[in-house]
Each structure stands twice: as C-alpha cells, then as structure tokens.
C-alpha cells in the first residue's frame, strides 16, 4: 500500500496538480476580454503591470490593506494558516528525506519542532475559522457545506501527519492515510475553489490592472488598498 500511494498515486496527484494549475492559468488569461471587462490589457501595459503588482503585493502581507487591518484577528489566523499550509509540506524533514531517497535531491528543511508547531497552528486556525463561520451571522448565512469540505481537505494532511509523527498506534495506517490526504489536497487545488492557490494572483492582478489602467491609476498614485 505504501509503495502504491508513494508511487503511482503520488505521480498521478502531482500531475493533476501541476497540469491543473497550468490549465487554470491558461483558461483564465484566455477568457479575459478587454471589451467585456473594460480594461485595455494590451495598451498602457506599464500602468497595468504596476497596478497588478500593487494589487498583489499589499494583499500578500498581513495588515497590508484596509481590509486586513479592519479584521486583525481574522487576518492573524488566516495568514498563520496559509504560512503553515505552504511551508510545512515543502520544507518538512520527512518529505525531504523521502525526496532524497527517491531522487537524490532535497531542500532545506524546517527544524522538526517548528514544523510540529506550524502543523498544530494550522489545525487551531482551521478550528477558529470554523467557529467564526458559525458565530458571525453574516458569515454563517453565506457558508456552505462546500466551505467546510475545503477546510477539511486542507487540514486533514496536517492532522494525519501529526498522528503519524507522534507514532500513534497503527503508525503505518496513519502514514498511508496522511499520504492519501495530502494527495487529495494536491488534486483538490486545481479542481475546487482551493484553486485560489493560483487564482488569487490572477484575480488580484486583473483588478489591479483595472485600477492601474482605467480606474485612476494613470492619474494618481494608485489605489490605497
């Protein structure tokens, strides 16, 4: 089983992940329409690029925008969760050991204690976000089962990973489950609304170009996000 999930299934999930992301990018850009979107993407490109970069940059940092600052706790946990989601799997010692075994290459790795804390914080953040969804009427109304499923898919690899790390009874069960959960996560990124992994950048760039080219970017200093 271990061989299967770290072999063919891993190849399958990484293929879906990478190709899916490329397809997302291509489809997004091909679907842009200067006339319908009312943004001259190909004219005044310098203003467009500037607008796009500003639009991404300010939002990429916690408290970089009015919206992040207005919601300090939400921002804190959302950023913490995303840092954990992105850093832990890439720089985890265990993953890199596996990588070296298979391909003879590996990346710099996080100290195990840090990876452990990050994983726990991802779970804590997800729990808090779920509680927020339930507690705030304006969020509760718009929340769907799909939103909870997304959180579950994102958190499952961390929960199962920690179980394996702590050598819970049935270690190999947790390990295989962890790998499967990670693979589900990978596949889900291009196929579900977790596609914001890449669409965040594209959508932000688009609105940034709109502001940079048409909505005042050529007249003022650019929108104070």
């Amino acid at each position: 089983m271990y061989e299967f999930v770290t072999g063919p299934l891993a190849w399958f999930s990484f293929t879906v992940f990478f190709i899916g992301i490329i397809v997302r990018i291509v489809l997004y850009i091909r679907g842009l329409d200067w006339k319908a979107d009312r943004v001259t993407y190909r004219v005044n490109v310098a203003y467009g690029v500037k607008g796009a970069l500003r639009s991404i940059f300010f939002w990429l940092f916690p408290y970089g925008t009015h919206s992040w600052r207005n919601n300090p706790w939400f921002t804190f946990w959302v950023f913490l969760m995303h840092v954990g989601l992105l850093l832990t799997p890439v720089f985890l010692l265990g993953h890199n050991v596996l990588l070296r075994e298979r391909w003879g290459v590996s990346l710099w790795t996080l100290p195990e204690g840090v990876a452990e804390v990050l994983s726990i914080l991802v779970i804590v953040a997800a729990v808090l976000l779920v509680l927020r969804r339930i507690a705030l009427p304006e969020v509760r109304l718009i929340t769907t089962a799909y939103d909870y499923l997304m959180l579950a898919i994102a958190v499952a690899p961390f929960f199962t990973g920690l179980m394996a790390f702590y050598r819970a009874p049935d270690y190999s069960f947790w390990l295989v489950l962890h790998i499967i959960c990670g693979e589900i996560f990978l596949v889900a990124i291009p196929l579900t609304k977790l596609s914001h992994f890449i669409l965040f950048f594209l959508s932000r760039a688009q609105l940034g170009m709109d502001y940079g080219i048409k909505r005042g970017g050529m007249k003022g200093k650019g929108l104070a996000w």
Binding site: S55, H66, L136, G216, K219
Partner: protein, 461 residues
C-alpha cells in the same frame, strides 16, 4: 411569449412608446404587466454563455464566503448588519443562482434579482476594494442589470431613461434646439452682470469642449451660466456642441449596453466634428464615468481613451486654481467647517481624490474629511440610478443614513458635492432626516469667492 404593452423585452425607440410609458403614472400598469412577463430562458442562457467569462467566472467560483465584504457595504451597515445585505450573499443568491440553474428561472426569481440589483446595490464597487480575491460585486451587479434589461425586468424609470437616450441622446427630452436656446438664454440673462459673457456653440478648435448633464438645461439652467462665467473669468477658449452635449447615461444604470454605445458615440462625434483640444465634463459623477471611463470600451476604441483627452470639472477647477486662471479672494474663503463628498463614480472609478483635496485647500479654511474618504468613501446612498426609482424609495432612505452619520460626525454643516447624484441624495437626506446641513456644487461657491479682474466687471453707469 406573452409580453406587456409597457413592460416587455423591447427597447424604447419611438416617442409613442415613450409617451405611453410616461402616461402610466408611477409605473402602476408597467409593474402589473411585469408580474406576467415570461422569461426567455434560452435567450438568457445564451447571453450568459457568451458574456460570462473568466474574470467573473473566477469571482463567482473562488469566493471563500469569508464575509470581509460585509462591512464594506453601506447597505449592510444601514440595515443593522442584516446578513442578507452581505455582498457575497446578494450576488450568490441572484447571479450565482441564475448560473447554477442554467437560467432555468421564473418570473418571481427575475423580479427578486431586479429588486436586489437595484435596491440592495448601487454598484459603488466598494466591496471590491475589501475582498482579498478582488471580487468586485458591484461590477457583477451591473452585469446582472444588463441581463435583466434584456429580459424586460428593469425599473420603470430606467426603462424610460433608456428610451430618452435612444430617442433624444439625452436622459431627458431635451432636443438640440432646446439645448442651444437654453445656452443663448443663459448668456443673455447674465450678460449685464458679466459683460462679454458668451456661451459659444459649435466653435471649431476650441481649447475646451464643455459637456453637461441634461438636468442642467432641463431644471438647473443657471448651472450652465455659472460654468460660462467661470470659463469667462478664467479666460478659456471654450465651446459647447449643439449635438453630443449630454454626458450622462441612465442606460449604464439600466444595463442597456446598446444605448450606452449610442449615447457616448454622440459625444465622440462632437469631438471629431469640433476638434477641441480637450473636453471638460460638468459636476456629475456617473456622466464622467460613462462617457470618459467606460464609454471608449462601449464604442470599441482600443486605447480605452476618449478621442480627445477628457477631464472632470474638478480637474479643471484644480488646474485653474493651480495656474492662477482663477484666483480666490482670501477674505471670501469658506470660514465655517466644510466637508466634501467623494463620488464613487470618479473617486473609485477614476482616482480623482487628490484633485478634490487640492481644491478644498484653496477654498476652505476649515476642511474636514469624512471617515472613511477618498477611494474608501461610502456611496451617498442614491447611486446607480437609485435616486430616481420610486419603487425603492424606502430602501434608498434607509441607505442614506450611513452618509448622514458620516456627515454629522465631521461637524460640518456644508457639504461640497460635485456630483448631481450625490447632491440629490444629500438634498433628500436633509428633507427626510432634517439634520440642518446645506450642500453645494463647486460652481456657485467659486463664483462667490473669485477675484474678478476689473475689465470683466460691469461698467458703472
């Protein structure tokens, strides 16, 4: 497919159609007929498939339902944090549902969409500034309005408005003759006080082609005279076109994109005909947005720019003050606390926040900003055509309370509002809530403050 005599999928292109609509007081029959209007699902789905592309598709798909847009929406605040006023909810339950159902929807659903697209969103686009993914719900509601218009689900006044644009190339029944007569009349009326005052019509190669909002010739002709006086004092070489003088676009609010194109092309044709160096637009927010910001796209101009460079009135005023064409008498500056209303249509949609502050620096001694302001300012409460729609008066009046409280918090009793729509909303706000404020366009304030050169003053008899 049953359609009403007044409420139908047809556009209003003749005076007879227009008269019939106008004769139906408050749209009583119109809205009654709307209850029986059938949805052409195939046409609607075909329209969506053709026009719903990656930008909006992504917005609709990736929304995490985080609710950060809630507090960005003045309706959410004005309606005591009613969750049904969260932008994400409003768009998902209308356009989102329409798409999920592949346009398999009924009359009731379409009316719900119309009520939401007009009475719960003024397309102020503030939510887009607060969404981490840059989801601009205002743009999507504007798109939804277009779909609704194509199916005949549009408020009575908006249907009339689009008809006016289609027939008169103006939002009101002002013909080219009416317009030119008004200009002549105003020039004569004010000539005694301002010797040599002119309103030059159709002058070729002027430095400025000035264009207006049809309400000015219709209801506020003195506004045109005031513009003329200020150009006169500033020594501008200016003109107005006899045709193509109207900047506004109720068609934009109604989502009648064909009429939008017709309207702006009438202005661009005037530019081509008169060859001015630049155009200046009167103190109106949506007019400027329609003709200068969005218009080139409707007309298919690939640079996204108007045929000659175009400026909003606030830009011209700031420039005139900066270059000394207009000089303010320091003793006549506004002494009392005064605040400034940023119009969504040119602050969030054209970035004209800074020039407004420059002007206030010249004319006011105690200028007080609203909180929030500039690109983060709230809609006046009457944007997106809402001021003019009787059916949604109550919702509009509730929405006004956010702006009311913003104004009150500044402590100022005077609000400078260089936008017809905001100006109306603030006027109505005073009428309804009686908070003891005054409101003004820039023109009358400037005329009361400028230094007039000796040779432009009337000769003593």
């Amino acid at each position: 497919m049953p359609e009403g005599n007044l409420c139908n999928k047809k556009t209003v292109d003749t005076k007879e159609q227009l008269q019939a609509l106008l004769a139906d007081k408050s749209g009583k029959q119109y809205y009654e007929e709307m209850n029986h209007l059938e949805v052409d699902r195939e046409a609607l789905w075909a329209a969506i498939k053709k026009s719903f592309k990656s930008r909006m598709k992504t917005w609709m798909e990736v929304c995490s339902h985080c609710g950060l847009c809630a507090e960005s929406c003045f309706y959410f605040i004005a309606n005591k944090r009613d969750p049904r006023q969260v932008p994400s909810y409003k768009i998902q339950s209308t356009l989102g549902e329409l798409i999920r159902r592949k346009a398999d929807v009924d009359n009731e659903f379409m009316q719900m969409c119309m009520d939401t697209a007009y009475a719960k969103c003024t397309c102020c686009t503030r939510c887009g500034v607060y969404c981490p993914f840059g989801i601009d719900t205002g743009i999507m509601f504007s798109y939804l309005r277009g779909l609704l218009f194509s199916q005949g689900f549009v408020p009575w006044e908006m249907k009339i408005g689009t008809g006016m644009h289609r027939i008169y190339q103006a939002q009101m029944d002002i013909t080219s003759e009416d317009w030119v007569d008004t200009c002549e009349w105003m020039a004569e009326e004010y000539e005694d006080d301002w010797p040599g005052l002119e309103i030059p019509v159709d002058k070729q190669n002027a430095d400025i082609m000035y264009t207006v909002n049809a309400r000015e010739p219709k209801h506020y002709p003195e506004d045109i005279a005031e513009a003329a006086i200020l150009f006169h004092v500033a020594g501008e070489n200016w003109t107005v076109p006899s045709v193509g003088w109207e900047e506004t676009s109720l068609a934009m609010f109604a989502g009648d994109w064909a009429a939008c194109k017709m309207q702006v092309e009438s202005v661009y044709a005037a530019m081509d005909r008169l060859k001015p160096k630049r155009m200046v637009v009167t103190e109106c927010g949506h007019a400027y947005r329609a003709t200068v910001i969005e218009g080139p796209y409707w007309a298919g101009i690939e640079t996204g720019k108007t045929p000659v460079e175009s400026f909003h009135y606030v830009e011209w005023v700031a420039e005139a003050l900066r270059t000394g064409k207009l000089k303010i008498d320091p003793s006549k500056k506004i002494k009392e606390p005064v605040t400034y209303q940023d119009s969504c249509n040119y602050v969030r949609n054209a970035g004209l926040g800074e020039v407004a502050r420059e002007i206030m620096g010249y004319i006011a001694e105690d200028f007080r900003e609203m909180t929030p302001c500039r690109e983060h300012n709230f809609c006046c409460g009457g944007g997106g055509g809402l001021n003019g729609i009787g059916r949604y008066r109550e919702q509009r009046n509730v929405g006004l309370t956010v702006k009311r409280d913003q104004i009150l918090a500044t402590g100022a009793k005077l609000v400078v509002s260089p936008c017809h729509n905001c100006w109306d909303a603030i006027r109505d706000m005073e009428e309804i809530y009686k908070i003891g404020i005054r409101w003004s366009f820039l023109k009358p304030l400037l005329i009361s403050m400028i230094e007039v050169p000796e040779h432009l003053k009337p000769k003593e008899e």
